[in-house]
Symmetry: C2
Subunit: 224 residues, 2 copies
DNA sequence: TGCGCGACCTGACGAAAGTCAGGTGAGGAC
DNA sequence: GTCCTCACCTGACTTTCGTCAGGTCGCGCA
């Protein structure tokens, strides 16, 4: 039996969802909460396998509640349940550690499929959400990072370190300061990186670092 | 009733999958193929709603068959069905126009959920696949592009054009040649772009262009 | 008509980046 | 030992960038 906690500020919606989940046979709603804070409290008490959280809720919204749950109960899987198919929500939700993202506009069977998939340790996105994700993946294939890493692995430790800072859009002087080197040294490394990887200038190097996931801090940060 | 075409080179696996799909009640396997070429031929004859394709098949593999199907029968949805959870396959499959990616190691109910989701016009990824996708999304959130575009929209046409080429890792001289300008002019634009967007150097500009999806050609191309 | 404004273009000059030719020291092969 | 290699570091020199101050043209508007 999959134990589920259900959080939504509207009692009617909670009832509807609970009823749908009840028809599955292997899913049981063990607690219902009307806001995020209550959801966290009840989760601590009941230890469900899955928490279904609405995003828009009073006191503590679903995203914050998800983050809190991940912190205090890492073994609980969180599934966001919302009306809106917004990019920002999807990303924030997954960033908060959610394992699923379901739309209320979806098919009831989707709800059950999602709960089961997540209970089995997987992750589930609503088809409509998945479709956007697929679009994104075509732009930036999964293999990209692996390919970039393969290139980066040809470098020595110091070179990789320099490359990461180049990717953070730092100047040679800044990199030198950070690494306690002289500017000339950094230039030498950059030059070596370029020839070793067959790149033409530091812009390519930066993009590569970026793709390899090497960049330590926000490269578009406008500060000094 | 959802009509499905099933393609796999092993008859036993086809039988197993057909049997699982049969238990759903609303799904019917209308044709079975032992290779990609046969799958395309049978799809043309039977016009199923969904084609379930194994990736490893003789004559025409699943990926190529998917691309072919998309070409000759755009209204048919393709779902890849495979043993391997490989980055390359996932990306190629989605690139070939597949609407789903299921693992044979998955739960049988997942198979049914996937077929239904795709038949409903959605897209479905196996939970294990979805999990990798989520990891990727955290690195590069869906909102990133929108934010980058918002910045880029502050620019004039010419500036945006220059920015795109900066993102392609071109030098000012190269950009000038491409745009039939003098190098000094390009420098002026770059400088203006930097101040207008509050960036510090062309590396940041390049990353921004990259994130905004502005980059017209592969920036890591090592040619001239 | 003349004025201001914005988008587009340019050149000179100082400041970075990139190249090249080294110079150290640690470790492995013989 | 000595020779070789490789990772690490450096400074002089050339090329490329980025800034700044300015020029042209077209357009709205008083």
């Amino acid at each position: 039996m999959i134990h589920v906690l259900l959080a939504d500020d509207e009692a009617l919606i909670r009832a509807g969802i609970a009823s749908i989940l009840g028809t599955a046979g292997d899913i049981e709603v063990v607690a219902e909460a009307a806001d995020g804070r209550e959801a966290v409290d009840l989760a601590l008490r009941h230890r469900p396998a899955i928490c279904l959280l609405d995003i828009r809720m009073p006191r503590l919204d679903g995203l914050k509640a998800a983050a809190e749950l991940r912190r205090v109960l890492p073994e609980v899987a969180v599934v966001m349940l919302t009306t809106f198919n917004e990019d920002d929500y999807v990303t924030s939700a997954l960033g908060s550690g959610a394992s699923g993202f379901l739309l209320k506009s979806g098919d009831p069977r989707e709800l059950i499929a999602g709960v089961r998939a997540v209970a089995a340790g997987g992750a589930y996105l609503s088809p409509a959400v998945t479709r956007r994700v697929i679009t994104r993946l075509r732009e930036r294939p999964l293999g990209t990072e692996a390919a970039a890493r393969a290139l980066v692995d040809q470098l020595g430790d110091r070179e990789r370190e320099v490359l990461a800072l180049v990717g953070a859009a730092m100047s040679n002087a800044e990199i030198a300061r950070r690494l306690h080197l002289v500017e000339g040294t950094v230039k030498g490394y950059v030059s070596q990186i370029l020839t070793r990887l067959g790149l033409r200038n530091r812009v390519q190097a930066a993009i590569l670092a970026y793709e390899a996931g090497l960049v330590p801090e926000a490269p578009l940060d406008r500060r000094a």
